[in-house]
């Protein structure tokens, strides 16, 4: 199988958010960047499918749209076992998913991939859209946020969590899938992989983004929650808590 995995360089989930002087973007000074955690499930699934195919079968190609520093993110994926990487290089990743989807679709269009995998969302902008947009642009079937996947004879069955249940979805290959937590347990890089990654091909393609239709007005800190209070200690405090919830918070 030929599998493309689209990954994103994102600030680590423990990042303290400081807003840049322009009032519209993250101040990246001192921020640690990582491979988007949801993309780890996509990459792991691709690697397992390739490994199950046995020797000589298949290729896992990693695509990332991002700044020059996203080469590190691609190297991380290569260290985990991907065969080669492509960086669609831009100055800055826009917060609008639509031009990103267009650039990725153009890069993926003639690749002849059986599967194109994405994480279901990136933990920085939580756009939750690039995978299915790429699928539409390429005219491919798509299932999002999958937690289980079976493939056989050119067809797939996936499961995805919906409110109060699990949807069982069937689709033909080639297809675009986006992955959720629960699909698999991503592996950790081994020293051997890290060394091998340095020699794997990484193609850097300067990329011009289409003009999007979504402009950032402001990035702001969320409103501070009102100072909370400790109602008391132990079960004796419960009646007072219930009174406050009824009379002050009015939620009961």
């Amino acid at each position: 199988m030929r599998i493309a995995v689209c990954i994103k360089r994102v600030p680590d989930s423990e990042t303290r958010v400081k807003i840049a002087a322009d009032g519209k973007t993250l101040d990246e000074a001192g921020v640690k960047f990582v491979l988007n955690p949801y993309d780890e499930f996509a990459l792991e699934e691709a690697l397992r499918r390739k490994e199950q195919g046995g020797s000589g079968g298949g290729e896992v190609v990693v695509f990332s749209l991002g700044p020059p520093a996203a080469q590190e993110t691609i190297r991380t994926a290569l260290a985990l076992g991907a065969d080669r990487g492509v960086l669609l290089q831009v100055d800055r990743i826009p917060p609008d998913g639509w031009p990103v989807a267009q650039a990725l679709a153009a890069a993926l269009r003639d690749g002849g991939y059986d599967l194109i995998l994405f994480g279901k969302l990136a933990i920085d902008d939580s756009n939750h859209q690039v995978g299915p947009m790429v699928a539409e642009l390429l005219g491919l079937p798509c299932v999002t946020a999958i937690t289980h996947l079976d493939l056989a004879d050119g067809r797939g069955t996936a499961e995805r969590e919906v409110e109060g249940g699990i949807e069982v979805v069937e689709f033909p290959l080639p297809a675009v899938l986006t992955t959720d937590k629960g699909l698999n347990e991503p592996r950790y890089p081994a020293l051997k992989g890290i060394m091998a990654a340095k020699k794997k091909p990484l193609d850097v393609k300067p990329t011009a983004l289409a003009v999007g239709g979504l402009d950032v007005v402001a990035l702001t800190a969320p409103p501070a929650r009102n100072e909370g209070r400790i109602v008391g200690e132990g079960p004796a405090a419960v009646p007072e808590l219930v009174r406050l919830l009824r009379e002050e918070a009015k939620v009961l």
Binding site: S13, L26, L137, V162, F171, V217, L241
Partner: protein
């Protein structure tokens, strides 16, 4: 005509609660634009309850029926909604940021070649442009975006747009349409435990963490949820989901569900940043924890320090008294 299109949801032939919220969000935009709200539902057959949505501000309510639309059909739905949106020349198309809405909205956006703002917590019109606010960086910041051109596509975070009465004509129409479901087909929806409410949609969420010590002790939280009557669900921290005590579907946090209930009760949860990401937009937060220095108390409106095994049963008893 440049109205606002509200895309409703049904499951098993019943309108979903988020449909009411979508009408309310669409109404808010339509009022600011001086336009009407057209609501659209795709279903296998006519669905009861559509006529009640006029009260929340829908001017027109259209159900497109097709046997292929009984279950969610991603491609068939996307085509039908995109066709409708194109024909109607809408200023905005509003979805729910539910599991279905978050899947459907990007497909429709790509078909319309328009950008999309998902999981929106506020909408407005400023200088004639639709603006939306959405949490980013796991809720650690809010991004305000402005749409250039039409339509603006948005999905609304569940439980944020509380339905309010705003009576409009609510003219109901039902039309049978043709069209295949598409290549991606939902074979079945395996229901979770009967009657279980999803944490993302519950008005009250009682979540447990490692402080519960073992999986069986979650029954204390289930009893408390039951005491609230309907509308309460039991959630879990990542630690206990990773330990296999609770299913991933119940996980609240950055790698789980984002919830905005009116009341969130965190029991035996220390309040790691990734958990706070999933619940900080709750209207009221209560924390019950043994450690008075636990970070959860920093975001909680009300806290009780002490042994949850004594406090939770007492709370259940008090809530039962209220409902007696």
């Amino acid at each position: 005509m440049s109205h606002v299109l509200a895309v409703l949801e049904q499951r098993d032939g019943a309108l979903r609660k988020v449909s009411h919220e979508v009408v309310t969000g669409a109404r808010r935009l339509a009022d600011a634009l001086g336009e009407n709200v057209d609501a659209l539902l795709l279903a296998g057959a006519a669905v009861p309850g559509m006529n009640e949505l006029g009260r929340l501000g829908a001017d027109k309510l259209t159900t497109l029926t097709n046997p292929a639309f009984r279950l969610y059909a991603p491609e068939g739905y996307a085509r039908a909604i995109a066709d409708r949106a194109k024909a109607g020349g809408y200023r905005a198309v509003v979805f729910a940021a539910s599991a279905t809405g978050k899947d459907l909205a990007p497909r429709v956006a790509a078909r319309l070649e328009r950008p999309l703002a998902q999981d929106v917590t506020d909408v407005a019109v400023e200088a004639g442009a639709v603006v939306a606010v959405r949490p980013v960086y796991a809720g650690k910041a809010l991004l305000k975006v402005k749409f250039a051109g039409s339509p603006a596509l948005l999905s609304l975070r569940p439980n944020v747009f509380t339905p309010v009465d705003r009576p409009k004509a609510g003219v109901v129409e039902v039309a049978a349409v043709d069209g295949a479901p598409g290549r991606v087909t939902v074979k079945q929806v395996k229901a979770a435990e009967a009657g279980a409410l999803d944490v993302a949609e519950a008005a009250i969420v009682i979540s447990g963490g490692r402080g519960l010590k073992e999986p069986a002790n979650f029954k204390l939280l289930e009893e408390l949820a039951r005491a609230f009557g309907g509308g309460a669900a039991v959630g879990a921290s990542r630690a206990v989901v990773d330990a296999g005590w609770r299913p991933h579907a119940d996980q609240v946090g950055q790698t789980g569900k984002t919830v905005s209930p009116s009341l969130y009760v965190a029991v035996g949860i220390s309040g790691a940043i990734q958990h706070l990401a999933g619940m900080r937009t709750a209207k009221v937060i209560v924390a019950i924890n043994r450690d008075k220095d636990a970070p959860i108390f920093k975001v909680a409106d009300y806290g009780i320090v002490g042994d949850l095994f004594e406090i939770v049963p007492k709370l259940t008893e008090e809530i039962e008294k209220l409902h007696a």
